[in-house]
């Protein structure tokens, strides 16, 4: 450990960039997936098209996806966010739709009987009931994107990947370990926090 103690600000800056990339990507993907998921939950045909498309994107290796975006939007944060958003969509849409579909029909009937309109029913009844499942999707997408975001450093998007790439270029194991370890730690913390939120939501619902 000779490099890390003397470069704490650089490391923190990379960590900040990483968090920014992940937060922006998951947030944008969340909004898109909410719309697609609600739509898909009502129309199975639409749902299968969305899942096939987002599933195909999910399978494309990250470096190849970023590379394919370069001729269209160049280098930097923009293609990185577009790529990361694309990776989140499958998980998020699937969880939104399965969350909404898992609501017992009795509950929906009761809401209709009480005079809820479709929008109010969606916002007041359906989304809150689907929330644990939706948060589970956010958790899986976040953990996935934290890992993939390291590769985005190669297209100049910054983040913890820059430390790993510097370690590869300079054959400097400490940088590879610091970059890898911090990324893993970030994934573990995100998983832990979101699991806690998910559990609390499920517990509240039973009570």
């Amino acid at each position: 450990m000779r490099w890390a103690p003397r470069h704490i600000p650089d490391i923190l800056a990379a960590l900040g960039q990483h968090l920014f990339l992940v937060f922006v990507s998951v947030s944008i993907a969340f909004v898109i997936a909410l719309v697609l998921g609600i739509w898909g939950a009502r129309r199975p045909a639409v749902y299968s098209v969305i899942i096939t498309l987002t599933g195909a994107i999910f399978v494309v290796p990250s470096l190849a996806l970023f590379a394919l975006l370069i001729p269209l939007i160049g280098l930097g944060t923009k293609p990185a966010v577009v790529g990361l958003v694309s990776y989140c969509l499958l998980t998020l849409v699937r969880n939104v739709a399965t969350g909404l579909r898992g609501i017992p029909p009795d509950v929906l009937d009761a809401a209709d009987g009480m005079g809820y309109g479709p929008w109010r029913r969606l916002i007041d009844i359906e989304l809150p009931l689907a929330l644990p499942q939706i948060i589970a999707g956010v958790r899986i997408a976040t953990v996935t994107v934290i890992g993939i975001a390291t590769v985005a450093a190669y297209i100049n998007a910054g983040g913890l990947g820059t430390i790993i790439f510097a370690g590869i270029d300079q054959r400097y194991p400490e940088k590879i370990i610091i970059g890898g370890l911090l990324t893993s730690l970030l994934a573990i913390v995100a998983d832990f926090v979101l699991t806690r939120i998910e559990r609390r939501l499920r517990a509240d619902r039973i009570a």
């Binding site: 195909a56 999910f58 290796p61 370069i70 998980t91 590879i176």
Partner: protein
């Protein structure tokens, strides 16, 4: 632009061909090794609760490490070339294979096992004739996830001198040569999509509807 990439590919067909071969070789060897380690290990840990708990925790923490870091870590320890990449890719492929095989074996109904024991089957016979066939769909789903992981990871192997199709992408990005970059990225995407679709089709043919619930995420 895609036309330029196609021209580049035709112009450099020899290099392209050897890169594709390298990519497939690297992925194939890694998957085979991961299978040979993962399946026996999964069978072994079904027999001990403590071993299972340890193995699953280790494997789950492995999954938190980004693929790039796993490959990068192979460089200082093992040097450059094909084998460091293969070893890193085995590490990537092991979690889905091990976890899916373990879960598949564990979920075999206890009554079925009891019936098999009652019929006088030995432990080895039960494993071969009852447990593994019943766990096969979950095991196959694990292999499918692992295959995609490995093909994706093999792209990153280019960073540690593993070769393969990733070389065109990294070189293309480094010198901003778009045709070269696409000549790498497009075949990589097609390869991954082809393998995913092919294995999905096999899964449906062998085991009926693909059980998405058996899949661990990337």
């Amino acid at each position: 632009m895609l036309l330029d990439a196609l021209m580049w590919t035709i112009g450099n067909w020899k290099t392209m061909q050897s890169a594709i071969e390298r990519h497939l070789l690297m992925s194939g060897i890694s998957l085979a090794i991961a299978f040979l380690i993962g399946v026996p290990l999964a069978i072994a840990i079904t027999r001990s609760r403590i071993a299972a708990a340890i193995a699953i925790n280790v494997v789950n923490s492995l999954r938190a490490i980004p693929s790039l870091a796993i490959l990068a870590a192979a460089l200082p320890v093992l040097g450059i070339g094909l084998w460091p990449s293969v070893i890193a890719l085995v590490v990537l492929a092991l979690p889905p294979i091990l976890l899916n095989t373990y879960v598949g074996l564990r979920e075999v109904d206890a009554d079925i096992l009891e019936a098999a024991t009652g019929m006088g089957m030995t432990r080895g016979q039960i494993l071969r004739r009852v447990q593994i066939p019943l766990a096969a769909p979950a095991m196959f789903a694990g292999m499918r996830t692992a295959a995609i992981q490995v093909i994706s990871g093999a792209v990153l192997a280019s960073f540690i001198g593993g070769g393969g199709l990733g070389d065109f992408v990294t070189a293309g990005i480094a010198i901003m040569d778009v045709p070269r970059l696409l000549a790498g990225a497009v075949p990589i995407a097609l390869l991954a999509l082809g393998v995913e679709a092919g294995l999905g089709l096999m899964e449906r043919r062998f085991f009926g509807a693909a059980d998405e619930g058996n899949r661990t995420t990337q």
